[in-house]
Each structure stands twice: as C-alpha cells, then as structure tokens.
C-alpha cells in the first residue's frame, strides 16, 4: 500500500502506515475512493415573516424580488389592496377609534416612490368594480402543480407562498404529495431477443399549496397572478371549496315549527 486510506481522507491518524488496519475495501465505482455524498439541501419552508403583509414596504420588497414579473395588473391589485386598507383605515379613523392606523398599516404610495422602482404609469382605481351581489367565499383554495422537475416545483412553491403572504392571504399548508411513475417495458432489439427488454419511466412530481378563508375576488386575482407566471412544463389544478348559505327551506328544523305529524297513530 503506497498511501494509507486514512491519509487520503484527511483524518488525523496516530497509527503508523506499517500496521494493517481492517479498513473497508475502496469501491470501484468512485475510482477507488470512498466518497461521502451529502444530500442536496432542501429549501427550508419557513413561513414566519416579520414584515406585515399588504403594506407599501412589503410591496417594495415584492417588486425587488420579482421586478420582471410585476405587470400593471399586479400593481393595480396591490394598489387596490393598499387603497382598500387605506380606505378602511380612513373609515375606522372617522368612526372614532382612538388607535392611529395611518402610519403603521396604510402608508400612501407616492408617485416618486413608484418611479424609483421603475414603474412609470399607475393604472387608476377605475379597474376596481363594485357590485351589489355578495362576493363568493371559499373555505379552502387548493392549488396543485405537477411537473417533471422537482427543483422547478420547489421554486414555484416559494414564489406562490411569497405571493400569498404579500397579498395577505392565509397560507395553510404547502406539502408534497407522492410522485407518480409511469413505466413502459419494451423490446430492446428490433428483431427477436424477446427475453431482453428495456424499461422507461415518466415521473410526475406534485406540490400542493392550500390557502384558507379567501374571498372570490382575492382568489381570482391570486390565481391569475400565479397562472401568468407558471413555468413551462408545469401544469396546475385548482380546487375551490366554497361556503354557501343554507337554503331557506332547511334553515329551521320541521319539529320546531310544529309541522311534523305525530307518527304511530
């Protein structure tokens, strides 16, 4: 033995090279050296944030992360959120609450501030439409993305959860369902050799993001933003669980009103 394995590994050894140690045989696969491979570090799903969502500070942070993806529509969405919060704060202020919400919750987004970030035109709030009918309410919005590449789904999950947090939606959980493998067994050769086959497989990875207690318009906005920025080769399935009012005819039980006839007579 020219060089002992312990010296190659860089471990400090007090044993002289002349003594024979019961070392494991080096595997041929890595060219004679035992290489310890570390697992690729998975992204840590840390959903706790210090910055309050829905404020101008969080909006600027969001723009800084994704400057190319901020479209006018998103800007109007954010302005709607900000202005709605501002309007809500104004209403609350007028209603006579003692706490001052202006400074903390809804700072005014100035044109100069926006120009600094490279946004020149600000769509007016005429995009926000008010209607009489009540907005749909969703108990759960489940977004399931499928793809062949796991790292693409990792980054999309980060993007979608960040968007949900910045829009002020409550992100319930983001998990990874089991991958699905479709296998094909084909003949290896063009002619004869039936015993020799070759196998191919297609792997589909999934990722699900669940958002709870969302209004219809917020869900529509969030989904549109997510879907516009869906990477190529990734498919999305959306499941919405809506909350409906109980129909009038079953709101009260029949035995309360005395409509039930006594049975067994």
């Amino acid at each position: 033995i020219a060089v002992p394995l312990s010296a190659i590994r860089g471990a400090a050894s007090l044993v002289s090279p002349l003594t024979t140690l019961p070392l494991p045989l080096p595997s041929r696969k890595h060219g004679g050296l035992r290489v310890e491979r570390e697992e690729r570090p998975r992204p840590v799903r840390d959903h706790s944030r210090t910055r309050p969502p829905g404020t101008a500070a969080s909006f600027t942070c969001f723009i800084r992360y994704y400057p190319n993806r901020v479209a006018d529509r998103v800007l109007s969405v954010f302005c709607h959120v900000l202005c709605v919060s501002q309007a809500a704060a104004a209403v609350r202020h007028q209603a006579g609450t003692s706490r001052s919400l202006h400074g903390a919750r809804a700072p005014a987004v100035s044109a100069r501030h926006l120009k600094q970030l490279g946004v020149t035109s600000l769509r007016s709030l005429s995009q926000v439409s008010l209607s009489e009918e009540p907005d749909a309410l969703y108990q759960k919005l489940s977004v399931r993305v499928k793809g062949h590449d796991r790292s693409v789904l990792d980054s999309f999950e980060f993007f979608a959860s960040l968007a949900a947090r910045e829009l002020g939606l409550s992100l319930e959980r983001a998990f990874e369902p089991r991958k699905h493998t479709e296998k094909l067994t084909l003949l290896k050769s063009v002619h004869i050799f039936k015993k020799h086959r070759v196998q191919y497989e297609t792997r589909t990875h999934h990722r699900t993001i669940e958002i709870s207690r969302v209004t219809g318009s917020s869900a529509r906005v969030y989904l549109e933003y997510i879907q516009r920025n869906l990477p190529e080769g990734v498919a999305m399935e959306v499941t919405k669980t809506s909350v409906e009012e109980i129909p009038e005819h079953i709101q009260k039980p029949l035995w309360d009103e005395g409509k039930l006839e006594p049975c067994g007579q």
């Binding site: 499928k146 062949h148 590449d149 699905h180 084909l186 003949l187 063009v190 869906l230």
Partner: protein
Amino acid sequence: MATSLVRQTKLLSIVTSQLSSAACFRNIHCTAACLKNRAARIRVGKGDKSVTYEQAYHPHHIGHRKGWLSQHTSNLQGEDGAAERVVEDVFIRRFMYGTFHGCLADEIVIKRRGNLLVICAVMIQKLLPSKFYFLIGYTEELLSHFYKCPVKIEMQTVEEKVVYKYL
C-alpha cells in the same frame, strides 16, 4: 398504452393464426421495439469527433445531468395531447434546421407557456446580424400562422460551436 399494445397483439395473433392456417407464412412484427443501446448516443471513436454537452450525455442522464429539450405538460400524469406536441416539435426542429442552415450550434429548446411557443436557439455567427433578424421574423411569422399561436424566438449567438469533449 400497455393495454392497447396487448389488444393489438391479441388481434394480430388471431390474424397470424388465420394466415398461417391458410398456408401463408408471413410474420407480422407486432410489439414495439427500441434500440436502447444505440439511441441518441454518439459512439466512442478515435478521438477526432468533437461533441457538444448535449450529444455527449446519453438519454438516461436526462433529469440528472441534462435538461429537457422540449418542455410541455402533455407527458404529465392526467394530461393529454402528447402526440400532437411531438409532431409539432419535429416539424419545428426541421424547419429551424432548414431555415438557419449550418448556423445552429446545438439542439433547439422548445418551451410552451400556455398558448405561447418559445423557441430557444444558440447560433454560430455565420450570418450578418441583419440577416439573422430577418430570418427570426420570417420564422416567427410563418410558424405563428401554421400553429395559430404566438411564437417567439430567443436567440443567442456564439463564435464557434462549443465543444465539450472529443470522442
């Protein structure tokens, strides 16, 4: 696909039995075959053949050391339209190879984002930039008319073909 293959083999075995009984001894090749050892591989030679990164790695390295050349959702579980995408891809690759003859440094990457078709190509600086612009516009216009969807070409030029190793 496996069930349809089984059905096909059953049908063809019935047909062959009928044919053989009628004194006609032709054999029909009825199961799918693929030459796994030789598909999409450049065989090792004397050391004079230059080979790009894409050509150097074999198909079983896709997903590990190679990326995907054509990115669409039809091969995912529960999605359809794979055959149409394959036919479109073959046509697009042949079209690009013919339009930019001798200028392609490596395989074309085709990405589909919703309705949009994005063709990413790396070219050798063989033609003048103005000619490249004309050919890009020509390709985008024709392909968008063929496939009734917006087509964008993202091109990058390189002085010479990027050689990974010699086989």
